[in-house]
């Protein structure tokens, strides 16, 4: 046994932990955005199960790059996810030689890490609702047992008000465009290319937002409801009745674009 190897092993542990704490300190010392979110935007997961005592809240958000065009309201992806933007992000958007290979070609292309801007409420959420409304009306099978008006009402009152509105390779560009940190949250995400044999040929889809599962410290987790409660009930006689939000969490995104729960209280 040689002492230098032991010191090296202990040094790796020390350096790694020092790096983590410096990183966390830098992230939390310079917040980039702060929002009060409710159970529409934050889903309670893994709360105090027998084998896992940790509590997490998963960020719920709406993704226009996945939803567009499926049900016939528009054939255009959002301008911020079109072919030109994907080229700017470093994707090779050329089509394969055989048009029949298009779907597979883009499906197999690996995703890239980007920054995603999520807006809380506001015009983007209204546009999201308009798009959904058109889809509910265009597709009877999509309506289920409710009328298009009821579906829209459910969407308006229960869907997450966070909507993806832009993406970029760096966060500074997004923050310049959307300076209000109480309205627009910037997080890391993954985007991949999708392709059609018809127009639009090539566009981007946000695959996921990273860090979307946010740890809740023990002293805050008591404010979270322990039981399940649906967002609404529908009575054939009286119609829809929406339940009150049950908690509010202050979610802060730091200078390294990593979020944390700063406060959590019952409603």
């Amino acid at each position: 046994m040689k002492l230098p190897w032991l010191l090296a092993a202990l040094g790796v542990v020390a350096v790694s932990n020092a790096f983590v704490f410096t990183h966390v300190g830098r992230n939390r010392s310079s917040p980039d955005s702060r929002m009060s979110l409710g159970d529409r935007e934050l889903e309670n997961v893994y709360a105090n199960t027998a084998e896992d005592s940790r509590v997490h809240l998963r960020l719920r958000w709406n993704n226009p790059t996945i939803e567009f065009g499926y049900l016939g309201t528009t054939n255009d992806p959002p301008a911020w996810a079109n072919e030109d933007r994907m080229k700017q992000l470093g994707f090779d958007t050329r089509l394969p030689p055989e048009p029949s290979d298009t779907l597979q070609h883009f499906y197999r292309m690996p995703p890239r890490e980007v920054f995603v801007a999520l807006e809380l409420g506001g015009p983007s959420f209204e546009e999201w609702l308009r798009n959904r409304d058109a889809k509910f009306r265009a597709q009877p099978a999509y309506q289920g047992r409710m009328s298009p008006e009821e579906n829209l009402e459910v969407e308006r009152n229960t869907s997450s008000r966070l909507v993806a509105i832009d993406l970029a390779s760096g966060p500074a560009e997004l923050r310049r465009k959307y300076p209000d940190g109480s309205k627009v949250m910037i997080l890391r995400g993954l985007v991949h290319l999708a392709g059609n044999t018809e127009k639009p040929r090539v566009y981007g889809q946000i695959q996921r937002v990273l860090n979307d599962q946010i740890y809740v410290p023990h002293d805050l987790s008591d404010a979270l409801p322990r039981d399940y409660s649906p967002f609404y009930v529908r009575d054939p006689q009286t119609g829809l009745k929406f339940n009150e939000p049950r908690f509010v969490a202050d979610v802060v995104v730091g200078g390294n674009f990593e979020p944390w729960v700063a406060d959590l209280r019952k409603r």
Binding site: S16, N17, V20, E51, S53, V55, R112, N211, Y215, W260
Partner: protein, 347 residues
């Protein structure tokens, strides 16, 4: 020659001497016989005292059992540690969580060190070093969870460096293997990450892993491992598993290659390369008496060949005939290996 190999040689020498005397090939006076026996027994006693080696066959069998139990016990303790942290960590305040996560790898590293100082065979040290490695993995992974850090491949590099350092300090091969595997994972993920790809898409850069594995297999030629007798074999084993696994993956998924060819051409290339490189590795292993190289390469040679036979024959012949042909190919391979062995004897 390691102390254990020296002890084995002494026992073999003693048995061969008895056989030669019984066959009349050698005649020893009783004084000479006593002197040889005394030399063998005192040498074995010295070795056992200095290095705690096994001096009899039952001792060796028991040692093998203890090694297996030590490895399994270490793995069980790793799982116990992870499940314990999952079960209770959520109830602790932040400073207790952080202090526990930082202290655990330091504590178990220290415990493994003191076990190694007190016990030459290092069964307890090996077991505790596995727990120390798992504690360090839990340290960074759970800090990442409670502080919501963006996932990064650099944690793999830290785990790799820790595993290698601890492996060399204690002379424990399993921890070295975990460390080397982590470093290979870091190279394979970080090379794509630096070019803008998402680092967890390891399947999109198998050539990086393949080349890193090949380089790792040659590390023992560059480093002197005189004091670490089992380590060169560990480097070669981990490196060759990565090298052959990378080729196997590319032989099915050619569109993930860096090569500027169409996917089908890449797949054909790696199907041929897999068979050829595994055959070459078997030859190199035999020439250099490297058991782990021969065994790994032979296994992958059989895997590559089996997949080729499926490609060629599965769809157009009855299944009984397919398996009959696979059996006949195996017999042909055994015959070929026998010829090679006879040739080596003649040489």
């Amino acid at each position: 020659v390691t102390p254990q190999q020296r002890a084995d040689q002494l026992r073999i020498f003693q048995r061969e001497l008895e056989t030669a005397v019984q066959a009349g090939a050698l005649a020893l006076t009783s004084e000479q016989q006593l002197s040889v026996d005394a030399y063998v027994e005192s040498s074995l006693r010295n070795l056992a005292g200095l290095h705690d080696v096994d001096t009899t066959e039952p001792e060796k069998q028991l040692s093998l059992g203890m090694r297996i139990v030590s490895a399994l016990g270490g793995l069980a303790l790793c799982i116990a540690l992870a499940l314990f942290l999952n079960r209770y960590m959520g109830y602790w305040p932040a400073f207790v969580q952080v202090a526990t996560l930082v202290a655990l790898p330091l504590f178990f590293t220290g415990a493994a060190h003191f076990a190694a100082v007190r016990e030459q065979t290092k069964y307890f040290a090996a077991l505790l070093s596995l727990v120390a490695f798992a504690a360090f993995v839990a340290n960074l992974a759970l800090l990442g969870d409670i502080f919501n850090l963006a996932p990064t491949p650099n944690a793999l590099a830290m785990w790799g460096l820790f595993g290698v350092a601890l492996g060399y300090h204690l002379g424990v091969r399993l921890v070295l293997a975990f460390g080397l595997t982590s470093l290979l994972g870091w190279i394979a993920s970080a090379t794509g990450w630096w070019s803008g790809l998402w680092w967890l898409e390891l399947g999109h850069q198998p050539e990086d892993l393949l080349l890193a594995g090949l380089a790792l297999a040659f590390v023992p030629r560059l480093l002197n491992h005189e004091r670490y007798p089992g380590f060169p074999a560990t480097y070669r084993l981990v490196g060759m598993l990565a090298f052959f696994w990378g080729q196997l993956y590319l032989s099915f998924s050619g569109d993930t290659s860096h090569l500027p060819w169409v996917a089908s051409a890449v797949e054909y290339f790696y199907r041929f390369a897999g068979v050829a490189t595994s055959a070459i590795a078997v030859w190199i292993g035999i020439r250099n008496r490297l058991n782990e190289v021969v065994n790994t390469a032979t296994a992958f040679f059989a895997i590559f060949l089996f997949f080729r036979l499926i490609d060629w024959w599965w769809n157009w012949m009855p299944k009984y005939l397919f398996f009959l042909l696979v059996g006949l190919v195996a017999l042909a391979l055994v015959a070929a290996f026998k010829r090679i062995r006879s040739g080596m004897r003649t040489a």
